[in-house]
Amino acid sequence: MKLPPFDYHEPRSLDELLLFLKQHGDCSKILAGGTNVIAQMKSRRVVPRYLINIKNINELCGITLRGSSLHIGPLTTIREIERSSIIKRSCPLLSHAACEVGSPTIRNRATIGGNLCNASPYANLPPALQALDAKLRITGLEGNRLVSISEFYVGRRRTVLKPTELLSEIIIPANSRDNISHAFIKLPARSYKDLASAIVAVVVEKKYNICSSARISVGAVWHFPQRAGKAEDYLRGKPLDYDVTSRAAEIASDELSYTTDIRASAEYRREVVRVLVDRALKQVSRGVGFACEENKTQG
């Protein structure tokens, strides 16, 4: 399985990269972890003239807490995210989503930037980041702008990134942990990981089990992650009891869009989203915290 011929470039700085993208962005592909792009080149799904290894650009690395927000460089590997104590403290939902990506060998190389920009409908991190209200910094020679996850995805495997632009930062509002709970459920839950048929990521702010706000993001059932806005509105101010969580799950299931593919039909996805949202909200209500290890042993 030989790769198609290409020209290899290793910029040493963000400026050097942006200058190169300005000239050759339309026939280039970024090489970060390579876990998607190399496989895609082997199958000839993408055949770039230039492959740009950006791993030498230090500005794109790192996880820092600055005031009330967490700043993550796009070159941060899934492994680093999985193990980061800063992330476990401020947004454990992301740790949880990270630990269920692919396999250990994939997580050791794959990056958060690549996971976002590859725009696979089945990726774990985008729904988690959407539930966390993350903002993405898009940088080009002319400057940079911030977009939400909902604004970032504009079609199946399509983002708003222009060929001359780079995803340069992921910013997540840092939460005070006391009254915030999360749940992350990916189907299938097997000991070896396949791509998801459905993903539910939930962040709930509650006191005495009364929900003050909720963000419910569903991935892998449509071209990109979707927020269940109507279900979120329904939950506001209500106690997270059995009937409320069940009803919220029905509302979420009804309001979203679904595709049929080799893994599941739209009808199945619609029903399983209802089940998973219900399960996620009930987990939150019971106060089941960071259940990464728990989910892994289900396989």
Binding site: L31, S103, P104, T105, R109, Y192
Partner: protein
């Protein structure tokens, strides 16, 4: 660039070669350096047959370019034997009958070695998770896990790595 001169420290030895930029680490290890323990399975990072240890971490060498890991440290099965003796992992795989066709075995060994380097006394669940990216078509998983458990105990007892 289209061609690069690449230096790697492989199984403790400095190696150098010139390669097209499109050469994967898998191809470099097998074809340039003669380390044929590393296997091509799916070629897309899904089966783990190509697993090697790169700078201390297990990775799929089939989706890694040799050019992008210039200067790195790599370990393959050929680097497991010490003073002519099988590594406890290799010995345990033999004693537990943890292979049939043997094709997944090098990848399993490297994933297991990386696990034991980091976590000398893993639980069965931790072993399953560490090997979750290594597929075995012959279905030897239970014996493989047993072998890794045995090796971990052996290594701990002997105090060696």
């Amino acid at each position: 660039m289209r061609v690069k001169r690449i230096k790697l420290r492989v199984n403790g030895e400095e190696r150098q070669f010139e390669a097209e930029v499109g050469l994967t680490l898998l191809e470099a290890l097998r074809d340039k350096l003669g380390l044929i323990s590393v296997k091509l399975g799916c070629g897309t990072g899904g089966c783990g047959a190509c697993t090697v240890i790169l700078n201390g971490m297990p990775v799929n060498s089939c989706i890694t370019l040799a050019a992008e890991v210039d200067g790195a440290e790599v370990t393959t099965v050929e680097g497991l034997m010490m003073n002519g003796e099988l590594h406890p992992l290799q010995q345990a795989f033999v004693e537990n009958d943890a292979l049939q066709c043997g094709f997944c075995t090098p990848g399993m060994l490297m994933a297991a070695k990386a696990l034991l380097d980091e976590r000398p006394n893993p639980s069965m669940e931790e072993i399953k998770e560490a090997l979750s990216g290594n597929l075995c078509r012959c279905g030897c998983y239970p014996r493989i896990i047993r072998a890794v458990l045995q090796a971990s105990r052996e290594i701990t007892l002997k105090g060696e790595r």
